[in-house]
Symmetry: C2
Subunit: 231 residues, 2 copies
């Protein structure tokens, strides 16, 4: 399995392709992706990719798994007993959000492929360890981990769509959210009274606040389960 060093270039790996795909997605935005460009990114002809990968589908699946690479574990002190589990889980969630947001363009393309690939396993294992360490039963920990990670991912998707759309139009996120607010406020108030009234709250730029709100609710709900000795 030695690499072919004589030609100067080590042979490609599937990971190289996944990374190149992710790089391209971020540099050129969704839609700027093609087998030919991925090939060029790694210095090869398009047809050569099919030596490593069955088709574009598989390449995208690889890229979707590679999305999880580089997600840093929360600092130690994890697997905390007592009430520290809240802080640990909250921090892990914030890191996940920040990590995915850093790849928002790729998230948009790969959202329909989110699946527990090999690289997503390590964060999931850490989360389960924290929850079990906090006293949750096996089933509760599994369900809680699933709920948390699906929520964060759903949240980020909704953040990523206007973000990359604004980016493509050369607008700032503030401009985009202001436009969204105006669209809501301009709605017929007799049919959508609450949307009109809450236009500022719904489309405001306060995504950090909104994330913390959801996170706090979720953790509260989990805490109550733990307190009542769930399952």
């Amino acid at each position: 399995m030695a690499t072919r060093q004589k030609t100067g270039r080590p042979t490609l790996t599937r990971e190289d392709l996944a990374d190149a795909t992710l790089r391209l997605l971020e540099r050129e935005g969704p839609g700027g992706l093609s087998m030919r460009k991925v090939a060029a990114e790694v210095g090869v002809q398009a047809a050569s990719l099919y030596w490593h990968v069955q088709n574009k589908e598989e390449l995208l699946d690889l890229a979707s798994d590679a999305l999880w690479e580089g997600l840093e574990p929360e600092p130690p002190g994890a697997v905390a007993a007592g009430d520290d589990w809240r802080a640990t889980v909250a921090e892990a969630s914030r890191r996940l959000r920040a990590h995915l947001l850093a790849h928002h363009s790729a998230v948009r393309v790969l959202a329909g492929r989110f699946a527990p690939g090999p690289r997503a396993l390590a964060p999931m294992e850490r989360l389960l360890a924290t929850l079990r360490g906090a006293g949750f039963s096996g089933p509760d920990a599994a369900n809680a981990a699933y709920t948390l990670s699906t929520w964060v991912q759903g949240f980020v998707i909704h953040e990523a769509v206007p973000m990359s759309a604004a980016e493509e139009r050369g607008a700032t996120p503030e401009q985009a959210s202001e436009e969204a607010r105006q669209r809501l406020a301009a709605l017929p108030a007799d049919r959508y009274p609450h949307l009109v009234e809450l236009a500022g709250e719904i489309s405001g730029p306060g995504m950090d606040t909104r994330f913390e709100f959801g996170l706090a609710r979720l953790l509260d709900g989990l805490e109550r389960l733990r307190g009542t000795g769930g399952d």
Copy 2:
């Protein structure tokens, strides 16, 4: 603005195109979509679509909004005061999940475009009305509605991926989840002890149970906020 009745066929609308796109997505699965096929579906040549739509992007955006069509409102008794808000919100969430799951193939393609389009507004308005009726402040209601809907959508995406993948291979959902379980159970137990231990819980077919778990946690968290006089 009269329709051209004499030729037998009323002229196309953008809604027709969105519906046809959705139909095609469900019939042929993700990847079976092209401008030419959408055109054929409505009995027209591909180039004619560009009279109604700027490009494929816009067509997909229309389809993503059309996804919300047909989502039935929860039965009346909504906007309930007291503790009934829990039942109302829970029912709305279950209906949303069921509705999106009925279009899982489209969900996969359109996940990266989820945005509050015109047709998504009515369900959101209803949800806000319920929450405000239950005593939540404006900002709390807005945040709660956002948290709930992003979670349901994230959940469904994670459900839709293996579902349509299994469908394409002609496997049953049970087979698919059993395969997922075996993949987890076969992991190195020293590196992923909790994943191996909980393989059955994580990849089991009990998606309904898992959904109810997350829903209950979320509602518990919201209830606590209401109880403490949120805002």
